[in-house]
Symmetry: C2
Subunit: 272 residues, 2 copies
Amino acid sequence: MTRIACRQLAPRIGDLPFNRELSAAAIRDAAGADVIVLPELVTSGYMFASPAEAAAVAVRPDHPLFAEWAAAAGDAVVIGGFCERGDDGLLYNSAAVVDRGGVRAVYRKTHLWDAEKSVFTPGDRPPPVVRTSAGPIGVLICYDLEFPEMTRLLALGGAHLIAAPVNWPLVERPPGERPPETVIAMAAARVNRTFIACCDRAGTERGQEWTLGTAIISPDGQVLAEAGEGAQATADVDLLLARSKALNSRNDVLADRRPDLYSPLLHRRAPS
Amino acid sequence: MTRIACRQLAPRIGDLPFNRELSAAAIRDAAGADVIVLPELVTSGYMFASPAEAAAVAVRPDHPLFAEWAAAAGDAVVIGGFCERGDDGLLYNSAAVVDRGGVRAVYRKTHLWDAEKSVFTPGDRPPPVVRTSAGPIGVLICYDLEFPEMTRLLALGGAHLIAAPVNWPLVERPPGERPPETVIAMAAARVNRTFIACCDRAGTERGQEWTLGTAIISPDGQVLAEAGEGAQATADVDLLLARSKALNSRNDVLADRRPDLYSPLLHRRAPS
């Protein structure tokens, strides 16, 4: 079994030292977990007033905070969001995959949300599937999840778990309904028969409230665990279940695809 | 405003005369609706014991029952499933789009479910977007909906509404949760900002129960109307809302796509 833990933290905007200790402590607290997911931009906060404010807390993947994550992680794999300064001088909304060996991969969010477009440059590489001690883990960040192409390509790339640091701004929804982002993640898990672990953030920041949508989702599309403000969602799962894509003896969510039928049409950019 | 009606009928297996009258009566009953959606295989029933049984009730698109649908429809557009005999002699699980002008389009289900594979040949054409009096309508059938590529290509093709005749076998789900197929349709509506109208069937057939999952879903991914056994779900909607793909002033669910990033990867057939 693999224990997945998502810690719904409340970072402080622009306070790198605070967030560095907050995230390392959360990883230590999750001792016993095999995979630990932290929120998007957990090292920096989200509601930047300007690119300069983001630049002031941007770090490179060789920053010592990642060595702290690795040390705190023990045998676990950590996936957490950070504000990245690229070697090109540009800022990226990124996620690092860290284990005992250090930073294993960095993914730069490819679909930027709203005001992020004023601060960050979108990544130009597809999301990685990282072979970890817990199995193959794919990485997405927040709004990326709303593109079924992204979850699909990670499933096709062999991911058993999609780990998604998110910051989901609270939006209106009918009473009794799940947050729309959760519904999208549940559907993505089910149509790809992968686990998905979304780690949302907590704490009102510059007036912005969050959905508190942290959820660990099974390949059936069911929510196995959620978390309150500042709390941890934990689920013990058999990630190998995501290796089989079969729905029954004759249906398989990937083998049943008809790529020759849709690929030419999916390349379009706008309604015809 | 456009009135969408989905009639959750219970056809009788192998009884073409009964189903012909049942479906025509449902269309007449829906007078005042602009778009009427009927279940998958409404002319034939679903639980065929053999291909021969299906062949016995298979019809061509020039069968008089479609003229009856057209006459009953008045100014409305009807989308309903039927067991099609192709000019090639093969059987298809198809849906017809019918209006005052007759059969406007036939779509052959491209993703077959379970025992359908013993009876039907999968279609080899992408689903159509039909320009109707109510606006552009895309067509899918049941399991097709579980392929996000299909809903996406209909949105890219300009569909404001995706009409989906379905027969959803009842599957277990946690208490308080929506059927997984509905969750998938809600997500598909939201990530494409299209309306989706799923018309399920009713009536136990050869021991098979159905989800009764008929649902009309908004571009926000919310269920606007559902239906009980044999009943009609009805919603009055502004289909033009689906023309805008904007989520805010800087995000658009189609324009934000990165086809150059994912297209090469989506062509894969199985996990790498």
